[in-house]
Assembly symmetry: C2
Homo-oligomer: 320 residues x 2
């Protein structure tokens, strides 16, 4: 593996799609060698609880307890709190399982006691037996607001309550101006790193909020490790979530090329490699013309083996 034995790998991830590759990396790397930089811009306060959907998906996925059939939450989950809340006429549009609620209660209590989110996340990861480090992108609150034809919607209102139905015209990230990149991540970037992998997460609502933190993408670009992005769009569709629908509504080409253009335009010089699926091999030349090294492999991750194969593939790419 290039970059030297024992060097750290940094993965940048949103929720479900990104967490699959993070899991692959977690399993193929020696314990403790993966650092995951997680989106927190879809965090929200609900029922008095601080809910961090992407961090939780990473926690549940890396601890081997994610509900794979459902695509979110914990396997073997029960819904007794929601059932009773529904009987009271409470808000149940955001479905919280009983065991999931325990995570939120634990986190919310710690945050209320003044612990920073990074520390609370690290404690949760340790208590769930996870060896990789999971870093919230910021200690401060950054919240995605989706601009739609019905007006601005807080992300979870758009994503869960409205099921991504309103047409998207843009995004803004409340709090971004005053938030700071998690200092622990900047520390990681000052250590020797072998690879930086941008997982196949939603570019607009999972990856952009991370990269737009003050100084973040420049620090990633300036790190000596190669930066490898995996396309979340395969064959004109998002494997999971609203990325393709968003691109269509934003009048972008709904292709891996569209994603590569978005990254290259927004963060010039950040990416070294852009990894696309074999389905999209014909796009490789156009992507190379953007000034990126395009690589083609099987990127759709159904099985554990798929995840580890894609992880190994990313780790096989060498610095330019």
């Amino acid at each position: 593996m290039p970059g030297g034995v024992g060097q750290q790998v940094l993965a940048i991830s949103g929720g479900v799609g990104g967490a699959k590759l993070a899991l692959g990396l977690d399993r193929v790397l020696p314990p403790g060698q993966l650092q995951v930089l997680a989106n927190t811009a879809d965090d929200f306060e609900h029922l008095g609880l601080t809910i961090c959907p992407d961090i939780d998906t990473l926690l549940y996925t890396l601890s081997g307890r994610a509900n794979r059939a459902q695509g979110w939450g914990l396997e073997g989950e029960s819904w007794n709190v929601m059932g009773a809340l529904e009987a009271l006429g409470g808000e149940t549009w955001f479905r919280l399982g009983d065991r999931d609620i325990a995570t939120h209660l634990w986190r919310s209590t710690r945050l209320a006691a003044g612990r920073p989110l990074s520390q609370v996340t690290a404690e949760l990861a340790r208590r769930m037996g996870i060896h990789s480090a999971i870093h919230p992108m910021s200690e401060q609150s950054v919240r995605t607001v989706v601009e739609t034809d019905e007006g601005p919607l807080p992300f979870q209102q758009y994503f869960v309550k409205r099921q991504c139905e309103p047409a998207v015209s843009g995004f803004h990230f409340a709090g971004m101006d005053t938030a700071q990149a998690n200092p622990a991540v900047l520390d990681v970037l000052r250590q020797p790193l072998s690879h930086i992998v941008i997982c196949p997460s939603n570019p607009f609502v999972s990856v952009d909020p991370i990269l737009r933190l003050p100084g973040m993408w420049q620090a990633l670009r300036d790190a000596p490790a190669p930066v490898i992005a995996v396309s979340p769009i395969v064959g004109g569709m998002a494997i999971k979530g609203p990325a393709a629908k968003m691109m269509r509504e934003l009048a972008m080409p709904v292709t891996a090329l569209g994603v590569a253009e978005h990254y290259q335009r927004s963060y010039p010089g950040l990416l070294d490699y852009f990894v696309i699926d074999e389905t999209d091999a014909t796009l490789a030349a156009d992507i190379e013309r953007l000034g990126l090294s395009c690589r083609v492999t099987a990127t759709v991750m159904h099985t554990q083996n798929d995840k580890q194969s894609l992880a190994r593939y990313c780790l096989s790419l060498e610095g330019n």
Copy 2:
């Protein structure tokens, strides 16, 4: 029934013991004729939730869903949140069932949105199909602190975490100096009332916090309705809870007479009737010597019929 058809009855109640008689009153009175004044001095903040144990016991009891075998919480309860919280190493000494947590989430969310506790409690009661009104004693926070041989303990630390083991030397009620009696209760006292019933709750930690609110016991005394207290001590024992242990540690006679003396000394002229169990009939003369009308009946409530019989008995007592 004296006092006129349709006149309201006010019951003063703490948790389990008091709620039994409140249930009896609720069932024998026409719907909407019972007002319950509930202790909130054992409320506390736990896991970020505002928990009101006495109000909840009243809600669950009057809606017919209390867990009678366990003596607290809901029947048919499940414990999945607690199990997961335990696995995370979270605080589980105060056992919260899944459905019970829904109540706390609902309440905490409303309180955080700025609704007063009285309104939140009324909404919960309505949503649970309860016809009687349940009034928190105050909108403000009053918290019982138990003075013990191990130092002062917040009530739930003493009651649940330490299982009432430390020896009690006294009580104080944090916040009492600045709290106000719930104005809705003072309004009720200005309406025609047929009876005021002090249920067989713990005198020190359930009834005293209510009566010691500024102006409360005087307003109760000055209401034209007879004030009837039912002894929580029967045959030298508390039917439920630590009242007898507390009286012993406070060097009071552990008898219904001891309770009557406590009320008569603390709130002179408040009580018209003191109702004791047949077991304690020999104490009646001493209680009468305190200047109270002592009445003897079966006060131990095992069955629904026991509760309704005691309720009817109390309502049969006429104003002097």
